[in-house]
Amino acid sequence: MEVVFNEKRCKGCGLCIEFCPRKIIALGTKMNDAGYHYPFIKQKEKCNGCAICAMMCPDVIIEVKGA
């Protein structure tokens, strides 16, 4: 199981971070070409692939693969 962020299209709104039930998503320090910080999963082993991050993402940049 893997959560993939399409980093190029992220606008850094933070809704995935706010609604992750396990609070394991954070914004990184790097910026994409549009100038936004994009998220990553801090503790991959704690992710159960619930896809709530993808459900709240307004830009459809999150994919949950092989869950």
């Binding site: 159960n48 459900m55 307004p58 949950v64």
Partner: protein
């Protein structure tokens, strides 16, 4: 209970012009997911609107029409009458639907036109920079109500669902929101019911979705979702206002 998620087939793979945290993105995605699940992608015709949702035909992977401001339900009426086997829906903001397009919206419901309206209520005119709309809350500050909306100047917020639910031609009327995952799930169900109501030929359907506009509200995306929950929901209560059982198809 783990489950996967991938981009709906009904969305073209391209970046969106919406501001960070804009709820139009979530609502576009829900429409696309429902159309995927109902297998209607090759049978759908979308009718856009003027406002921040103006590029819907660029994002949905089916044919779309861009009507003039507020006229989407009239255009959808024509399309549906000529092609009655298609899913025909409009995607309109509150400025488009509840201000300049009030006549078209009301009379398509009066006629019981077999179309669906997805109505995105963000309490103001988003695209043009945040002017007051008929749905602006009492006391709410916008660029045209710098002292807050007042009763004397602008009257009261327009509750579209409550009004349409009184009409015989209306078959399914519901109001949802997308301020948390539970509401996203409920709103998706409402959109599915509305589309199913149309495909069963039962008449007019409308789903209003309360939507955050962080840019024009001057809030960050999280604060804006809280504003929807705390300030909009008391004025625009969520739920189904009219339901016609699908079995009762004509």
């Amino acid at each position: 209970m783990p489950k996967g998620y991938s981009r709906p087939q009904t969305l073209i793979d391209k970046p969106w012009h919406f501001c960070p945290g804009c709820n139009h993105g979530i609502i576009h995605r829900l429409c696309a997911e429902v159309i995927d699940e109902m297998g209607l992608q090759n049978q759908t015709i979308g009718v856009g609107s003027v406002g921040c949702g103006v590029f819907s035909y660029e994002y949905f992977n089916f044919d779309g029409i861009g009507p003039s401001h507020g006229r989407a339900p009239a255009v959808a009426t024509g399309v549906k009458r000529v092609l009655p086997d298609r899913l025909v829906f409009t995607y309109q903001g509150d400025g488009d639907l509840a201000a300049i397009g009030t006549t078209e919206m009301v009379h398509s419901a009066v006629r019981g036109e077999n179309i669906t309206i997805i109505f995105v209520n963000n309490t103001l005119y988003g695209m043009t920079g945040g002017q007051m709309a008929p749905t602006t809350l009492m006391g709410q500050v916008t660029t045209t109500t710098p002292g807050g909306r007042s009763r004397n100047q602008a009257g009261y917020p327009f509750r579209v669902c409550e009004m349409l639910a009184t009409m015989e031609g209306a078959a399914y009327i519901a109001r949802g929101a997308v301020y948390n995952p539970a509401q996203v799930v409920k709103t998706k169900k409402a959109i599915k019911k509305a589309f199913a109501t149309q495909m069963a030929g039962l008449g007019f359907s409308l789903v209003e979705v309360l939507s955050a506009c962080p840019t024009n509200w001057g809030m960050n995306p999280i604060q804006a979702l809280k504003f929807v929950e705390e300030n909009m929901v008391p004025v625009f209560p969520l739920g189904e206002f009219k339901v016609t059982p699908i079995e009762a198809g004509v």
